[in-house]
Symmetry: C2
Subunit: 498 residues, 2 copies
């Protein structure tokens, strides 16, 4: 087989108005997950030679060498496409930390992730408006390459026009019920990028433990973490997570759930929680944060100011659900407390169901359609999570349930449906830690990832999706993600390195 050298131009139409990227390589079609909006493939294929393959910025591209996000992506995707030629181990380690923050800074809710990819003989052209779109295109490109039985790499002639259906495609990890070591979080971010999920919702603290090491209030983790040194996220850990995510076009939305779910906060911040009473005597246990004392507001304001500074995303999730009123009977105060916090910090907040002027997330309830209808009628922007509590497991192919969810299938006007800005997969941590996180998440979370990215009309049939998802799961394994099997069978690279 004579391999031709292909010149691939990854053109970004405009990067803050126009950018071009170029890549030289050799390539075809295999699996693609999530399914692009428009895809045309031919049986014509070219073989690729790793030796003659290179990514190059287009001459007129607004992004050029020095663009940290894309320089790193070229390196990463070269290894992903040609694992035999490089070592995949580099994937496991994050980049050598933050250097330049240039090149679009951080992805946000307005990021344009659309791209066009045209693979022809000897060349592929990738066009995008922003680096984030270029990242999505590189991922699709990497999924187009396959190897035959002799190990030769191929790519088919392909035309892709692609963009996400929803801007917010999240995944929640809960690091309070069980601590997740840094590598588990970074690995999750890798797999999110492979699935084109773009928001890491970090449910970082909760009742059981407070692993976030605050600079303002170090006692919160000193006394509230499972262990003050082994079970915390230092400032440097947090920066690593945010940077690892940024490099993959993933936003990090931290959640500091309050005023309930704060038992662990109380250990390092005496006086914060409401003392419960039994008759006229304190019972020794504590309820939600105490809204009746001014110190609470000062503390919350300082903490959230720090959070706002440390986490660059414009969203902070304030939780707000499941407040225990058995101890704390003053419902209106909860509302007042939350509104005060939102008002003072002038960030966007995601809350659950209760508070105005924010994005509402639908967390609970089997009848999420009714909730969607009700909340969008009230004019709220909403995020759907209720049907994607992926910590709930059952025997067999339960990804099909996630796949069957139709986020805009509720009674309401077109205007109401536009208020659904996306959704997220939630992996609550009661029964999950580093021992079982990856196989429980992947490939199950891929179902929601496709629902949130792809055209619903083209992707409603789970039986048709199955072989494609099976291939994608094998590809996840090949990339070092411990994704569990969907059914009987095997993958070419299935247990090496596990």
């Amino acid at each position: 087989i004579k391999c031709k050298t292909l010149l691939i131009t990854i053109l970004s139409q405009s990067f803050r108005d126009s950018q071009f990227l170029q890549v030289t390589r050799n390539w075809t079609f295999y699996f693609l997950w999530p399914l692009p909006q428009q895809l045309h493939q031919s049986a014509d294929r070219d073989c690729l030679s790793p030796q003659r393959f290179s990514f190059t910025y287009g001459r007129d591209s607004a992004a050029q060498t020095g663009c940290s996000v894309l320089d790193a992506a070229f390196k990463r995707y070269f290894s992903i496409i040609f694992p035999d030629f490089t070592t995949l181990s580099g994937l496991l380690m994050p980049e050598n930390d933050v250097k330049t923050r240039g090149c679009d800074g951080y992805p946000d809710e307005d990021s344009d992730e659309s791209y066009m990819l045209s693979v022809s003989e000897g060349q592929a052209v990738l066009r995008s408006v922003s680096v984030w779109g270029a990242l999505r295109g590189l991922e699709s490109l990497s999924q187009l390459v396959y190897q035959d039985d002799y190990g030769t790499y191929f790519i088919n002639k392909t035309e892709i026009v692609d963009f996400p259906r929803f801007a917010f495609r999240g995944l929640l990890l809960d690091t309070s019920r069980h601590y997740l070591p840094l590598y588990a979080i970074l690995k999750t971010l890798d797999a999110m990028a492979y699935s084109k999920l773009n928001v890491f919702h970090w449910h970082i603290v909760d009742d059981p433990s407070f692993p976030y090491q605050s600079r303002t209030f170090p006692d919160l983790s000193n006394k509230g973490a499972f262990h003050p040194f082994t079970h915390i996220y230092t400032q440097s850990d947090v920066i690593r997570v945010i940077e690892h995510a940024r490099m993959r076009g993933i936003r990090v939305v931290p959640e500091f759930d309050s005023p309930g779910h704060t038992q662990s906060w109380g250990k390092g911040q005496p006086g914060l929680l409401t003392p419960c009473y039994k008759g006229s005597v304190p019972s020794g246990s504590f309820g939600p944060v105490d809204p009746t004392v001014d110190t609470t507001y000062k503390f919350m304001e300082s903490l959230l100011k720090e959070v706002k500074f440390v986490f660059p995303d414009s969203y902070v999730h304030l939780g707000g659900d499941e407040v225990s009123f058995a101890c704390w009977q003053s419902n209106p105060n909860v509302r007042k407390f939350m509104e005060k916090m939102v008002e003072r910090l002038k960030k966007n907040f995601i809350c659950t169901k209760k508070f105005g002027d924010t994005v509402l997330e639908i967390w609970k309830g089997a009848k999420y359609q009714t909730e969607l209808s009700r909340m969008t009628q009230a004019g709220h922007r909403v995020l759907l999570s209720a049907p994607w509590y992926i910590n709930h497991i059952s025997y067999g192919q339960d990804w099909r349930n996630s796949y069957a969810v139709q986020p805009q299938n509720f009674s309401g006007t077109d205007e109401q449906k536009k208020l659904v800005i996306g959704g997220e997969v939630a992996m609550w941590g009661e029964y999950v830690d580093a021992t079982n996180l990856s196989p429980r998440l992947w490939p199950r979370a891929c179902a929601a990832a496709e629902r949130l990215w792809s055209n619903e009309e083209k992707t409603l049939n789970a039986d048709l999706a199955f072989p494609r998802l099976k291939e994608f799961r094998c590809e996840l394994l090949r990339r070092g993600i411990q994704a569990e099997p969907l059914f009987v069978g095997h993958c070419r690279h299935e247990y090496d390195g596990l």
Copy 2:
């Protein structure tokens, strides 16, 4: 703290009539799973010094240095007890292969696993009738040792008299629906020994693939395995598994399920399977093995002779369930075929429900009590597996369901109840491979392990068992078994090395 040197005599009352083992160390009480039959502990404790600790055979012990099983066990348990002093990595590697087969050979259904362990000041004495009992006692001993917050090792004064409730405490792995690499099997054997499970039921071949590399019929795996080199068990692999198991007092019962579940066999053995017909024309698909041709009997006899030679255990499991009669309508022939095989090979066979003069295993059906009653009334010895299909998962603490099983709680006489020789946990492979095997097995399989070993009256309350199981799960993690969490919380050694 001044640590005393403790002299521990592990006495085996008789090893082919009497044996004594001695150990010098320093030690106390923590978790014990499964619960010993009789246990007395005091608050008195001694500290242990790894430097002054040693296992020694008692002077009058029938087993002495050179006894492969116990020499290896001493080395293994020293590392388990003092991980800070040695490296646990040794645990991951199997022993340097087969050398001496002495010292009781292989465990079998009549092996005496009872032991007595007496830990007093400066000394512990372990008595057992066989090396298998000594292994169980060493496991309990290792679970008695704990570390305080300063890392000092302790053991409390303890008296244990212990023996298994049932002789057959099995675990089934299915290596046909997904191939399991050797290390996954060896790791499972390690964890079985920690839980005192003693039969590895190797469901080695089935419809989807034939990974067993037969010396007589190499084409069976050449053509029937997922891959003829990466997805097979060579003769040397099988020997390694059997030896790793033997060293831990675990029997290996292979299963060559027939006459159904043999689709993969047909690939390497043309003419073996019944051709299915559509009207008067062969449809191109195949049914169970063809009982109407003599070649089938010759083939089966040769294959089972090889199996009998390779696997030392006196049991071979012949499956026998779920025969598809849609293709093969001659029910009486199936029975004749199976009986013929059993008769010719003169081994013990375990079958499912259908055939006489064998141990019957109850695999299916929600009403297993009725089956137990019916089969024991007919005088059959039975094995219970139906309520322990651990591949079936559900959200939350489903180990409690396994724990609630009472194998002798069915209507029948005392004689009938004695016919229950044990049970087994079955991990069928539809949705399980090396990515999720360990966290799905452990600690969930521990529930059945305790039910099969311990006194039921002392262990029926799952709430009381919970903290002990939680500790045991942490200990499994410490020993390198990727056991998933039971609930919110953390372990001291929970993610290092994962």
